[in-house]
Subunit: 132 residues, 4 copies
DNA sequence: GTGGTCTAGACCACC
DNA sequence: GTGGTCTAGACCACA
């Protein structure tokens, strides 16, 4: 995991999000055992308690489950993971629209920009590799 | 300004972006005088040299100009500011598409999600107050 | 509140239950402001963090809500409180049946015992005050 | 034995109850020799005098008897043990009704809840395994 | 003053 | 070793 923490929101929340991302993107796969709290905490350079809070958050959503003595595991319920992905996508989209609004672009403008950018990229993909 | 710095990219770049955002959103308006380097640096809790580099960056794009004795000013060329806004919007859009791709959504999926979310918000605005 | 803590289950859980009981029984009424975390913690002779965890638990169920600077409040949604009461009653009942089973009484036996005890009490209530 | 002591009632009383429970549930069987006072006291982490008082209490009811030189024994009179069980069940029932009353449920309500919960459990037993 | 967050460090039960 | 809990003490934002 690439732990990127900014000081503007609770660390445990950011950790929870990044773990969730890790699960959704398949870095941690359904049924996988996660590293121990202490390991994850060391990785992210935070206090184990803080990491534990993040993990508890994910447990409360069912994405993780814990086996007292052997560690924490990613849920085997792949539909739950997919739903989490959809949820993150919706959040990402809302955030995008909000930022565009902050830049003075209406939702219609934003939609149009996405359309154009998507088309541009599609074209880029057709011809070899457009930028490199 | 709310200076939010993360450790994963050069600080001066992040500062430059946030200043640019401040100009585009009108927090600093065309023709305004900016606070001194020292002030800005103190605000953002960074070294004045770092802030200096960020400001130089913006000068090189023409958004800022220095007047030897009286400080730095936002350009009076509003079309330049608008163009900067469009540029940021394009970047934001590209970043959005990239993140959605990371979540496993194609550009078409992303476009569809934006359309839906925009519609949802539009509806929300029609009825009472969306936040309640 | 009469804080009664036993060492056999997490303290925060017991605190949460007793707070919940306080709300359900009307000791803390709908819309009331709770004492501060620190006060409650002192009352119950536990660490403020532990009390906070208990309160967070109740917040997650909607029974409490928090107003950043002015304290925590019992929900105004009385139906939510009533539902919590029903839930506690169901739990209490299940626990009762389990204990009776532990004593070697079937669920039918238990039901019969409750019927008899209820009748006995009803009678007691009719004649002045049966025991005193 | 799992000694669970709460600070709200005399310790010796709680010990006596739990010993009585042990006898009624068959953990200590008719005719069995009990561990020594010192052992029991150590197990429960209480002062031997306190444990002594609890044992005396049970002796006064006839459930235990002391044999000067060889220790304390559970009575061989199984009907006495059964009667103790019935007595505990009655107490448990009264306590249950009192708690339900505290939650705002009449004795009739409580009876109905027990009936429903018992039915629910019966059904659960018919189908697969209730705990899943 | 309020709640919220974070850290450091300890102890526990489980296997 | 694992996760879970608890404490003590600090700092922050908000008003």
């Amino acid at each position: 995991m690439n732990w990127d923490l900014s000081g503007d929101r609770p660390i445990w929340l950011q950790l929870a999000e990044q773990l969730r991302l890790g699960i959704v993107t398949g870095e941690y796969r359904a049924g996988d055992r996660l590293p121990s709290v202490r390991e994850l905490a060391a990785e992210a350079a935070v206090n184990p308690n803080t990491m534990q809070r993040a993990l508890s958050e994910l447990e409360s959503t069912g994405l993780l489950s814990t086996q007292r003595t052997s560690g924490r595991f990613v849920t085997r319920d792949e539909s739950l993971i997919r739903e989490a992905g959809r949820q993150m996508a919706r959040e990402e989209t809302a955030r995008f629209l909000a930022r565009m609004e902050g830049l003075g672009f209406s939702r219609g403008d934003a939609l149009e920009l996405v359309r154009r950018e998507a088309e541009r990229k599609d074209k880029e993909d057709q011809n070899g590799n457009g930028t490199e």
